[in-house]
């Protein structure tokens, strides 16, 4: 079974600062996904990373994948309050998705 670990679990950062969330996985994953979940809401897809070296960017978020290190990162640039949410990464084997425990991000004005 694919194990997915995220760190940190909780992150409090000031507006305008940069930070990185890390996602490690235990065995080969076909793909790597990032999701966002606002309190009391469902999950929203952010990025799909298909291969080694893949990099995707949307606004202040940038995700990358290193399959050799079994590591994906989600980099936040110049954080703003609207980015406060819980971020999940998920790996896949076959068609089954395995989610990390999530990183709860709070951006402080």
């Amino acid at each position: 079974e694919l194990k997915v670990e995220q760190n940190p679990l909780f992150l409090s950062m000031q507006e305008g600062k940069n930070y990185t969330i890390y996602c490690n996985y235990s065995t080969t994953s076909d793909r790597l996904y990032w999701y966002r979940q606002d309190p009391g809401k469902s999950l929203e897809s952010l990025f799909v990373l298909l291969s080694n070296g893949a990099v995707k960017q949307e606004g202040r978020l940038m995700a990358s994948l290193d399959t050799k290190a079994r590591l994906s990162t989600l980099h936040i640039t110049a954080a703003v309050h609207d980015l406060s949410a819980t971020y999940f990464c998920a790996g896949t084997t076959g068609n089954q998705f395995y989610f990390g425990t999530g990183t709860s991000l709070t951006v402080i004005p």
Binding site: L49, F88, G94, N95, Q96, F97
Partner: protein, 117 residues
């Protein structure tokens, strides 16, 4: 395009009672997933359907949980009897294709929040 629909949104029951959740996936999506998300954790897959067939139900507690997807569209998830530890959000997600060659993401419904007293 309409998203994944789920009902009810909230449910409170007593332990040993039964409960059922309903999911309507995005039109044309062949793959449907049910997840259990306990507070503070990531979603855990319970069952995966491809059209109306079960692909993976290895983590479904079959002594009390059951699910079906008649006609390959809507799906229901049932718990009978419920236990206190079943308190969680039950998320339904759908995906257009099962193919590994396409980086298709899942689209999640709003979830059903279950509280077992």
């Amino acid at each position: 395009e309409a998203g994944v629909a789920q009902s009810p949104r909230y449910k409170i029951i007593e332990k040993r009672q039964s409960v059922a959740f309903w999911c309507n996936p995005i039109s044309g999506h062949a793959t449907l997933y049910w997840y259990q998300q306990i507070l503070g954790q990531g979603p855990k897959l319970l069952i995966q359907f491809q059209n109306n067939g079960v692909v993976d139900d290895s983590q479904l507690p079959k002594d009390r949980f059951s699910a079906e997807r008649l006609k390959g569209v809507d799906s229901t998830l049932k718990i009978q009897p419920a236990k206190l530890e079943d308190s969680a959000v039950y998320l339904c997600a759908s995906r257009r294709t099962r193919s590994r060659e396409i980086g298709e993401t899942q689209y999640f419904g709003p979830g059903t929040r279950l509280l077992v007293l």
